[in-house]
């Protein structure tokens, strides 16, 4: 019971302080671009009605979900491939690094050429952009599989899919999860970027559109919502992670001396 109270306290404490600081420091702000927090919160209440959430946040969310899922799948698959073979790694790494360095806004036109301007394009942008942390972490995780475990598997004839399933993916999972976590917030960022072109709804679109039409409190309220969304999604993520990596956290706790 006290544990729960403590956890909630920890979660809310610092944000509360920061918000208070924000509130106080902008209370009398007359800068057009930095309105008082009060105004922003009022706008927040007015703007993000259920209807608006449904019209703008929902489409964003499902594009995000699909794009992110693709990024995770492709990232892990490609990561395992690249991580397990030195030859593949040597061949593919420069190409992957090449694409990684190209800014998504520049990539959008190219993706549009192939994926059109509808949902597909936005999903591809999200997937392509958030692929990298998953990919990189998977590669590193796979490369660092414990040698003794790896030998154990080989000697018991655990090869191919079984090896992948029981050894490689499991051993690399803490790191893959770290990558997925990174990818999640990048995916959210790309959701916004993808909605900067050829969109007519979405959370990102709303923010960009507010920014362009000088609806500054609306813009800030959108950013707030984005932060909240990120926070919620990361909570969901942590929940899933705690399940999937129960052994890992248990191991750490146990060894630390419970």
């Amino acid at each position: 019971m006290t544990g729960v109270v403590k956890r909630v306290g920890y979660a809310v404490g610092l944000p509360a302080v920061l918000f208070a600081a924000w509130w106080v420091s902008t209370a009398n702000s007359d800068n057009f671009y930095v309105p008082p927090l009060r105004t922003i919160l009022e706008t927040f209440g007015q703007l993000w009605t259920l209807e608006k959430l449904q019209a703008d946040v929902w489409p964003s969310l499902w594009r995000l979900a699909v794009g992110y899922a693709i990024a995770c799948l492709v990232g892990v698959a490609l990561g395992v491939l690249v991580g397990s073979s030195r030859t593949v790694r040597a061949t593919l790494e420069p190409v992957l690094e090449f694409f990684r360095a190209v800014p998504p806004p520049v990539l959008v036109p190219v993706i549009m050429l192939f994926a059109g301007i509808d949902h597909t394009m936005k999903i591809v942008v999200i997937a392509v952009g958030s692929l990298w942390p998953v990919l990189l972490n998977t590669v590193e995780g796979v490369r660092a599989v414990d040698e003794v475990l790896s030998d154990t598997c080989r000697s018991y004839g655990l090869t191919g899919v079984a090896r992948l399933r029981h050894l490689v993916l499991r051993a690399a999972s803490p790191q893959i999860v770290a990558g997925m976590r990174q990818a999640l917030s990048i995916a959210i960022i790309l959701m916004v970027i993808s909605e900067m072109t050829a969109a007519s709804n979405g959370l990102g679109y709303t923010i960009v559109e507010a920014q362009r039409s000088f609806a500054i409190p609306e813009m800030w309220s959108g950013i707030l919502l984005l932060g909240l969304l990120g926070f919620l999604l990361s909570m969901v993520f942590r929940f899933v992670e705690n399940r999937a990596l129960a052994w890992y956290h248990g191991l750490r706790r146990a060894q630390r001396g419970s």
Binding site: F32, P109, M112, A198
Partner: protein
């Protein structure tokens, strides 16, 4: 400093005032580059530098915060800003439509084999514009309206001008409103122009203007005046010397020589066409671009 009462001490030295202008590196701002080259600003004690930004997102806040002394923006955006209470003021004309159907610097294009033959056919179609709720969609709607169509069913899709020729070509949109040089590129690829929306919106429509912050306008009217004068001189010079315009374009854009030679240049009248702006304001209001009517007296310079 020069006697002009420059309050911006650090920006001025030896009778010369340093002025930064936020511009978009497109055809429309050729006169300011040309004017600088010709020394119209230097003779007035202005040391001009151009900072290029991609549209209002960067330029307006830059001007409001005093990072830039002046900025370039299309009229609708400025009216939106003004109606939202952004403290800005137009100081010089920017660019205007040629007013000639068939020979303007912006228009609505469709694919060569498109069933869309004229503006009326655009009703209910998917049309690309660079920004929604801005000058593009309001003027296109007006074109359709004037041609006897119903603009309410048009779906507007946002994308940068540069991507529009490809999008039209691949059938991703039915039509696109493009300006030069993308207009010429699209035409080169076989696209047809079905509407000249600037021309349809108002005669000799003023499309964009140079503006400053109200703060600067109040504190340093002298500098604003000098800038306006220099701009006016640059505009009329540009209007009179299209060849030099094409030449100066090569210094700050990457437009292909072929396109450069064939593209239509806009008009650069010295004065802001207030009537056309009122018309734009009306259109914008009808389309719900403004929540509150912009105060044009506040925004536009007294003439």
């Amino acid at each position: 400093a020069c006697g002009g009462g420059s309050s911006d001490d650090e920006a001025s030295s030896g009778g010369v005032t340093a002025v930064k202008v936020g511009v978009i590196p497109i055809v429309d701002v050729a006169p300011i580059y040309l004017g600088k080259e010709k020394g119209f600003f230097a003779t007035r004690g202005i040391n001009l530098t151009m900072e290029s930004g991609q549209g209002g997102a960067a330029i307006v806040p830059g001007v409001v915060s005093g990072q830039f002394q002046f900025g370039f923006s299309n009229v609708t955006s400025l009216m939106v800003a003004q109606s939202k209470g952004v403290p800005i003021k137009a100081v010089a004309n920017g660019v205007a439509s040629t007013g000639k159907t068939g020979a303007d610097f912006g228009g609505v294009v469709v694919k060569a084999n498109s069933p869309i033959k004229n503006a009326k056919d655009l009703a209910g179609k998917k049309v690309a514009v660079n920004t929604q709720k801005n000058i593009g969609d309001t003027t296109v709607r007006e074109s359709v309206r004037k041609a006897g169509g119903d603009p309410s069913g048009i779906t507007f899709v946002e994308m940068p001008f540069a991507q529009m020729p490809a999008a039209v070509d691949k059938g991703q949109v039915d039509a696109a409103w493009v300006v030069e040089p993308s207009l010429s590129v699209a035409k080169d690829a076989g696209a047809r122009v079905v509407a000249w929306n600037y021309v349809d919106a108002a005669p000799d429509l003023t499309v964009a203007v140079y503006f400053t912050s109200t703060k600067l306008a109040q504190e340093n009217p002298d500098m604003v005046k000098k800038f306006s004068e220099a701009m006016a001189e640059s505009l009329s010079y540009a209007n009179a010397h299209p060849d030099e315009v094409r030449a100066v374009l090569k210094t700050y854009t990457d437009i292909d020589q072929v396109i450069l030679d064939q593209m239509t240049l806009p008009m650069w009248p010295t004065d802001i066409n207030r009537a056309s702006i009122e018309q734009l304001a009306k259109l914008g209001q009808a389309d719900g671009v403004f929540t509150k009517a912009p105060d044009l007296n506040q925004l536009l310079p007294q003439s």
